[in-house]
Amino acid sequence: MSAPTTPAPGSGPARAAGASANRSRIGEFIFAGLALALGVFVFAGAFAIRLPAAGTQVGPRVFPFLVGTILVVSATMVIVGVARGKVAELEEGEDIDDSARTDWVTLAKIVGFVVAHIALIEIVGWPIAAAVLFGGVAWSLGARRWWAALLIGLALGLIVYVLFGGLLGLSLPSGPLLTWLDPLLRTLRG
């Protein structure tokens, strides 16, 4: 069970490249369009800001008007640029495969594990929730042994929990399974 890297059957490399260029262009339009919408919203929303009774020259609306204008103008120019074929130049990175297509399945898995982490913190405590997050993300990214990832995550969670609670005095929730750790923290704190 490693991350799926093989492209869908039936899509030759040439076709895939063309299709993905097209698709990323649609994505660019959508994103720039959202930025434009945000600009309009900032501008319109500025009218809803209440002005203080004492009439000052420059109220709390002026800067929002400026920001809205910047967003509207620059997002429009991005859209115009994309329409003329100026697609984004991507930054390189050590671990990024430029030729790979966006792997939405892995992304969904990772977001899912973050959501699970959020849901679990107050139920099972931070260390176990951290183990789920660490193990899950490592597995999504193709770690070969999921149980090793989970164990490393648990160790990491416990170390951070003890260091935080014991030395920095920041108490992360321990959850019902790990209450036996609390006396240890108290002795560490002195």
Partner: protein
């Protein structure tokens, strides 16, 4: 003389064992972070911000300064040994440094980068020591309109000139400015864009935005197109004492000094950080070198100069940050918000109100530089090991610590939800080529710019011309026009240079190309010296294999 006394007192503080340890932790984390792909100094400072609330401001700021300097050192190791650098300021180092490593001269490249960084960092810190109090004393007289002018310069240069696309940069800046608007407005106490939601009334936490964009967004982006398989790392020969030959020293010392002379002033002006400085240094070394033919194939000057420029610029960035409260890079912006979280406002008054803190900070920069030289020369093997962490675990760890950092701000689950949302936005920003730095600068500098703008217009009774008629402000706007012109010219040159380099790499009959054909990276036997390799130039065209 007064400054020297102050600096000595700063050393007395920074050399206390407690602060030495914090400084050491800072440079250690900073180097690790600089070496590791996927995390940069900006994100690390943001992540550690909530954890240092328990410390006193001096200790926290010394730690952050260490991270800041350490990150600059670590980045060069990555770009020399792995190619394709993470931080944009290291791109130029990768050009020559990685070629040197492939020729089996990785150790020399690492050494010239580390020593150059040390020399440049030290000289630039002296520059900071001498320059900062003077500028602070002068800046006391600046009026709000002057600050507005300075901030406009910072917005335009960071937003429009540094990225690859002017309008994408400005869009990113606009989003950051908008996020800065959310919350309760300072002067009149009005709520803006809070949708009546209580968590938004205090504004959006800088930590969440920075960690969300830099850590979560970056992890998601890498995950979406992760390079699978082993990391193609070039091993370094042992014995750091023999790293640099006499010839290497002879060829390195001038680029170090020139890089410093280029980097520090560029870092100082609010025209955006280290990238420009490294590129300029590279171009001038190429022009001045007696070994022009080696450029693009592993010229040591092309590592020594830009690395020195990089570190000198990093110190230069601290000048406007400390004396004017003006951040010109994302990391500086987050350090500024760290100052603010302790109730300290960097600016002209900082040197008179908080002399002990600011001089201890400057002294810690000298100390940190020495620590970094020690950490990076003999101990480089440890950092190389860090580069080999399997990527699934590395990014899982980054994400776990990001979630922890967000949670530790207020111990509120909702903060992790906001973190995830910002991270997803960051992913799309990255995917569609919007730079992140303008957003962070807009978020942190936006509220300050608004306050100054309104103060300026209050003073002038709403007269807009007052924004331009003060002499300093007028000079700023004229400079801005020049900077824009210069920036566009530089960008054209830079893209020309990149094209030329790509062409040179394609038509390559050099020793390095021969090495690449013969051995995989790192497989080259150590007893084969470059001079032993006889390159036979193909007679008719190139080997078409």
């Amino acid at each position: 003389m007064d400054n020297i006394m102050n600096l000595m007192e700063g050393f007395a503080t920074a050399l206390q064992p407690e602060y030495l340890i914090y400084g050491f932790i800072g440079v250690l984390i900073g180097t690790a972070v600089g070496v590791l792909p996927g995390i940069g100094p900006a994100m690390t400072v943001a992540l550690l911000l909530p954890l240092t609330y328990a410390l006193d401001p001096t200790a926290a700021l010394i730690t952050f300064a260490g991270i800041y300097y350490g990150g600059m050192y670590g980045g060069s190791t990555t770009s020399i040994l792995l190619n394709t650098p993470g931080e944009s300021a290291s791109i130029v180092t990768a050009l020559e440094g990685n070629k040197m490593a492939k020729l089996g001269r990785g150790a020399a490249a690492l050494a010239t980068a580390a020593i150059g960084s040390f020399i440049a960092g030290s000289i630039a810190t002296v520059g900071l020591t001498l320059l900062a109090p003077t500028i602070a004393a002068w800046a006391v007289n600046l009026a709000p309109a002057d600050y507005v002018a300075l901030m406009v310069i910072a917005f335009i240069t960071v937003g429009a000139l540094l990225g690859s696309s002017v309008w994408r940069g400005l869009t990113s800046l606009g989003i950051g400015l908008f996020l800065g608007l959310v919350g309760t407005e300072i002067l009149s106490g009005q709520q803006r864009y809070t949708f009546g939601l209580l968590p938004l009334a205090d504004g959006i936490d800088v930590v969440l935005v920075a960690v969300g964009l830099f850590a979560v967004g970056e992890t998601l982006y890498v995950a979406s197109r992760l390079r699978h398989g082993p990391v193609a790392l070039i091993p370094v020969t042992r014995g750091w004492r023999s790293w640099m030959t006499r010839d290497d020293w002879r060829r390195s010392w001038k680029p170090w000094l020139r890089g410093t002379a280029i980097g520090f002033p560029i870092g100082t002006i609010p025209a955006g950080g280290a990238d420009v400085a490294t590129f300029l240094s590279y171009a001038s070394e190429k022009k001045l070198s007696k070994h022009k033919e080696q450029f693009g194939r592993g010229a040591i000057e092309g590592v020594a100069g830009p690395e020195a420029a990089n570190n000198a610029a990093a110190a230069g960035v601290l000048v406007p940050l400390l004396t004017l409260g003006l951040p010109t890079t994302a990391t500086a912006a987050i350090i500024l918000s760290a100052f603010q979280s302790y109730g300290i406002q960097p600016g002209p008054q900082l040197f008179t109100n908080q002399p002990a803190l600011v001089w201890a900070l400057i002294a810690s920069l000298y100390i940190g530089n020495v620590m970094l030289l020690v950490l990076n020369l003999p101990l480089v093997g440890i950092w190389v090991k860090l580069l080999q962490i399997p990527r699934p675990y590395l990014y899982a760890g980054i994400l776990t610590f990001a979630a922890l950092g967000a949670y530790a701000v207020n111990f509120a689950i909702v903060d992790i939800v906001i973190l995830l949302v910002i991270g997803i936005v960051g992913y799309f920003l990255r995917k569609y080529g919007y730079p992140i730095a303008p957003l962070v600068i807009g978020l942190i500098l936006g509220p300050m710019a608004e306050a100054q703008l309104r103060r300026a217009l209050q003073l002038s009774q709403g007269d807009l011309t007052a924004l331009f008629t003060r002499p300093f402000a007028a000079v700023c706007y004229i400079a801005l026009i020049l900077i824009i012109g210069l920036g566009l010219w530089l960008r054209r040159r830079q893209s020309r240079l990149e094209h030329a380099l790509a062409a040179a790499a394609a038509a390559d009959t050099s020793v390095e190309a021969a090495v690449n054909r013969m051995w995989e990276p790192g497989q080259r036997p150590s007893d084969v010296a470059t001079s032993d390799i006889d390159v036979v130039k193909p007679r008719d065209g190139r080997d078409s294999r």
